[in-house]
Structures are given as structure tokens and as C-alpha cells.
Chain length 340, copies 2
Amino acid sequence: MTTQRRPVTMADVGAAAGVTSRTVSNVLSGNKPVTPATRAAVMAAVRTLGYQMNVTARGLRTGRTGLLTVAVPALRMDYFAELALAVVDEAERLGWAVTIQQTQSDRERELAILGGHDRLLSDGLIFQPHALGPVDRDLLVSDQPVVLLADHPLDARADQLVLSNEEIGRAATAHLVDRGCRRVAMIGPNQDPGPSTAGTYRLHGYARALQAAGLPTGPELVVEADRWTWEGGAAAAEDLLASGTPFDGLFCGNDSLALGALHVLRSHGLDVPGDVAVIGVDDVKDAARSRPALSTVAIDTRSVAADAVRLLVAQIEGDPSYGGPQTRLIPHHLVQRGTT
Amino acid sequence: MTTQRRPVTMADVGAAAGVTSRTVSNVLSGNKPVTPATRAAVMAAVRTLGYQMNVTARGLRTGRTGLLTVAVPALRMDYFAELALAVVDEAERLGWAVTIQQTQSDRERELAILGGHDRLLSDGLIFQPHALGPVDRDLLVSDQPVVLLADHPLDARADQLVLSNEEIGRAATAHLVDRGCRRVAMIGPNQDPGPSTAGTYRLHGYARALQAAGLPTGPELVVEADRWTWEGGAAAAEDLLASGTPFDGLFCGNDSLALGALHVLRSHGLDVPGDVAVIGVDDVKDAARSRPALSTVAIDTRSVAADAVRLLVAQIEGDPSYGGPQTRLIPHHLVQRGTT
DNA sequence: CTGAAAGCGCTTACAG
DNA sequence: CTGAAAGCGCTTACAG
């Protein structure tokens, strides 16, 4: 059925319709006015010959591919998966397609993508660095349009949407204190892949909230989690319980950790929030569906994605309303549910 | 910082290194042997000038983009989101990037993507039809490499990975019967978007299992769900409870429905599996994490994705081991957990 | 409103 | 192993 014949070109269509490829191009792109009769003849030839535009050739000529790239650490992590899919959805709305790249939090890979060495077939990049930190800010300059999603403001001339991570940690912890917790543990900070991850900032906020309330802090209350996943949270909660450290509140670096920890706490017969109150960060879909439903500091990935796509497209298209690189804080808000 | 200068080309690199663009191409592609001295000179020039390959130009010349497209009904549905992301992950492993398209189960959009009219910048397509059915099989022929993920075998000359949907419905229902259920309800079948969706086939299997066991069937036991989502399952379960129809087993068309229904059943004070046993289909990530954990008929999206990518790449590359279009059944297996 | 021609930046037979 | 040149299939100033 699929005989290997030479693909139909605009010249072929033009020949069949009695015009040149230029007119075919004008008809299909709609860039230039064309008489109705010519348009009809061209469209008829398109159908007869089964013409399909060679998008690569157009891309070479126009310098546009119609593609955006979104690069996240790993899709295995619910938050990044939801974020990447939200970007796909928002971009589609504006007529752009998206390719998803995983950096695996690998420093070399992040540098390659940002620097454009691992040149991707796309017109712009939405990038969430994970292994790169403030030290690397000079590298964060590239000639490709880029929007950074950052865990802290970077001193880079690039559009960035920045989480208020310390404030998020403080707000979550303060909420636990407000709910009566006196010994608040935390699951989340990790050494790898870098010193500038969300966990470190959220830890600072956690410590600040406890100090402000005159409550105890200490290394025995803080458990590392290598992977910010459900499994990572479950394992960390097991460790925390095994350590024997008493605690009546638990702040988890994100919802995936919190949901895993919640599962373990209840499996050990603890009442949540009676024995331990639990709070996470992100408001992933599952947060509202757990039993009890998870309290969290919500980050609206849909609006992050929408802002990122809008900013990126404005850069790419040279939109006059685009006033140059800017840094915006990503809003967050507390959502109280059953676990606190 | 980002001054708009003419981008560096291979000719520029060649000029700086004292060779022509042909040699630069040979060095960067590795297609032809090059003397070490020449290679070193070229690489030095690449670094000095900050050369970045124009991938679009290469694509026009070679006829390859290095991109695959995966088109699913909607990312809002967990199963399709997990499937699309699994394709991204598996393709990355083989050195391909992926763009994700949503059809929104729209017939016109499905036809456009399949027919190649909405020509996408990619070398091949992994496609899950939702609105198209057996009636449309003639349309399922396109000149682009394609792998279909289907709810029923299509009479199309294309690679297809097909779910055994009727058998899945039968196995799930038979499991409930084995566990002692005598009045088994089902949530799932829907009229829209087409008559050939998974729900219809799974309903047949459900009915067959009940008849084989000599157990009652009937319209009052079957609740439609417009959307196969958590919310759809919750709403359907509310309807079922409100109808007053007694039931001690519940087969849901997929896990998302089942998890939503489970939530509602427990909110109404019902014991699962004591009062009602529940089973779903897919084995999405959340299935293992609910309380009680959800029994299900597991479909391994990772292996589906891996097979689809492998088949598609074999087609694209004209792999001699590729023996032409074939139909493969996607394996499934029962996973018993806490809800049955 | 349309034709003839140039050119986007690569890769690849054709020579040497 | 390398140079000079053609060509992939479009879009777009240049003429008319």
C-alpha cells in the first residue's frame, strides 16, 4: 500500500493547478491574498495529489519550527510530570507543540541543554535547573529564547519564574504550629544533586518558623530523602519512626513525600492529624484524594505553565509587549485539608 | 548580551579551521573518517565560535528530524498521561525526542493527525485512536510510519498493539465472583465518543463472566461515566448508591474510576471489601497507594511504550529485522490487593 | 495578483 | 582524506 514514491512538493501541486510553487505557498500559508479561483484550483490539486507540507523545509526557510522544549529533572516525580504536561496543554492552546526532555538532574546534561550544545529542534526552552546553582549563573546565558523555572532568583539575564521556597517552608511549618504542634519534624532536604535545591530553602523556612515560635529544632527532627517521591517519603517516615524521636507535626518537602509518609504513619496505627499533623507542598492531584486529604502549600502548575509559555512565545515572536528579561515570583497559598 | 548577529554556520567554522563545510560536517556527524589534526582544528573552531548545528537544515537534507509524536486522547486521564510519559522515557533511551499531542477524542483531529494533513514535525507516530472505530479502517492508512495502540484489532495495514478488552472485563469480573460477590455492578461504559471504546468491550466481558456464573445482570447494575476520571468515578458511584440498587461487587472500567468510586464508597461508611469489593483496570501508580490498595487488571504501560517505540523506530530506520505490519496483543494480568 | 529566482544551512555523490 | 558543487522543499524580496 505504502509504495515508496517521491513525495509530492509544492511545485507538483502548482503544476497540477497551473500555477507556480509561490502561489501554492501563498494559498497554504495565507500570508498573501490570492484570488478565489486560484485558491480553489490549488486546494483541489492538494487533495488530488495528497500533498503534505514538508514542515522541515518551511522551518529552515522561516527559522521557526513551531516547537517548544520543556526540560525537567525527571518525569518520575509527580510535580515535574504535572508541570511538563501542563506546559504541553497550555502550549497546544496557543498553537505550539512541545517536546519533553529529562535532565535526570545531571549537571552535564543541564549545561548541554541550556548552552544549546545539545541543540534541540525547537524555537525556545522552558527549563527547570536542578543540578545547576548560583555558581553557574554565567552559564545561564544562551542565544536561544529561554524561560527558567527556578528554586531561587538567579542573577541571569533571562526570564525566570521563581518559587519563594523559604517562605513556603515557613508558611507550612507555621501552619503546623498554629494547629498546636510542638515538635515538628521535616522530611526532605538532600545533599544531592546540588546545594541550591528547593529542599535547602524550605529547610531554612522551616527552621525560621520554629525559632520564631520558640520551638525546638535539631538534626534528629530532620530526615533526608534522596528522591522526592512517594517511595522516598515512605522510607523517610519509616526511618523517623524507627529513630524514636517524638514528633507531633511533619512538614514534607513536597506532596509526594507527604503522601508516602502519610501512608506509613497510618500503617503504624498513628492517627493523622490526631497523633501527627502532616503538610506538604505543591498540591499535586493526589493531594486532594488521599484519606485524610492532604494539607499543602499549593503551587498552581497550570498558571506557572501558562506564564512560562506566554513569556517564551513573546520572546520568540519578538512581541512588542515583551519588555526584556524579568523575574517573577510564583504565587503560592496554603490549602488546609484533613491532615492538619 | 544576546546581540542579534548572523548565526554561525559550518562554513564559518570551516573558514576558521582552514577546511570546508564538508569536512566540518564529517567531523561533527562522524559519518566519514577524518584525520585527528583536522578534527582537533574543527573542534577548536566550534568552541571558539560557539557553533550550534542548525538541526532543521540537517533535517531537510537527511529527511529525519529525530522526533517522534505520541497522540493520545487527553492528558487529563491518568492512564494516557502515564502512557505518553512512558513513551517519552523509552524514546529518550533510544536517542529520540517526543512531542505529545492531545486529540481530545475529536474525530476530525484524529483523522487529521493520522492522515498527515496536520503534518507534524516528526518521523513517526504512536497513535491511540478514541473517536475512530472499525468503520474508519480505510482511513488508518497513511504514508507516515505509525504504530496504533488500539482497543480492538483494526483491519489496517499498520503495526498495532491491541488490548484484549473483553477478556480484561471478563477476568476482572470473574475475580469478583471468585471472591464471593453475587451482585456485581459496573461503572464505565459510555456512548461517546464512539461505539468502539474500551468500555464497550469491557462491558461485554463483564456480562459474559456474570452469565457464566449464573449471576444477575441488568441495566440497573451498569452506570455510565462520561469521563474515565477520578471525578467521573466518584460521580458514578454516588449515582449508583442513590439508585438504591444493591451490589456487593464493583467493576470499574479503569483505575481512575475505581479510585474515585472507592473514595465515595468509604465516605458513605461502606467497608471495602467487606460490604463491596472493588476492582479496576490499568494499574496506574495510584492504584497501589490507595487505602485499601486497589485490585486491578494491570496493563504494563512501560512495556507497551517500549514495544511501540521499538516498532516505530524499526519502521523509520528500515530495520531489516522489521518484517512488516503486525498485530500484537498487549498482555495483562490480575493484581489482587486490598479491595477484593 | 503571479512568475522566475535566490537562498535558508546542511549532507553527499562527484572528482581529485 | 578533502574541495567544489548540487540539491533537500520551502518562502520571499524582485519584477511585472
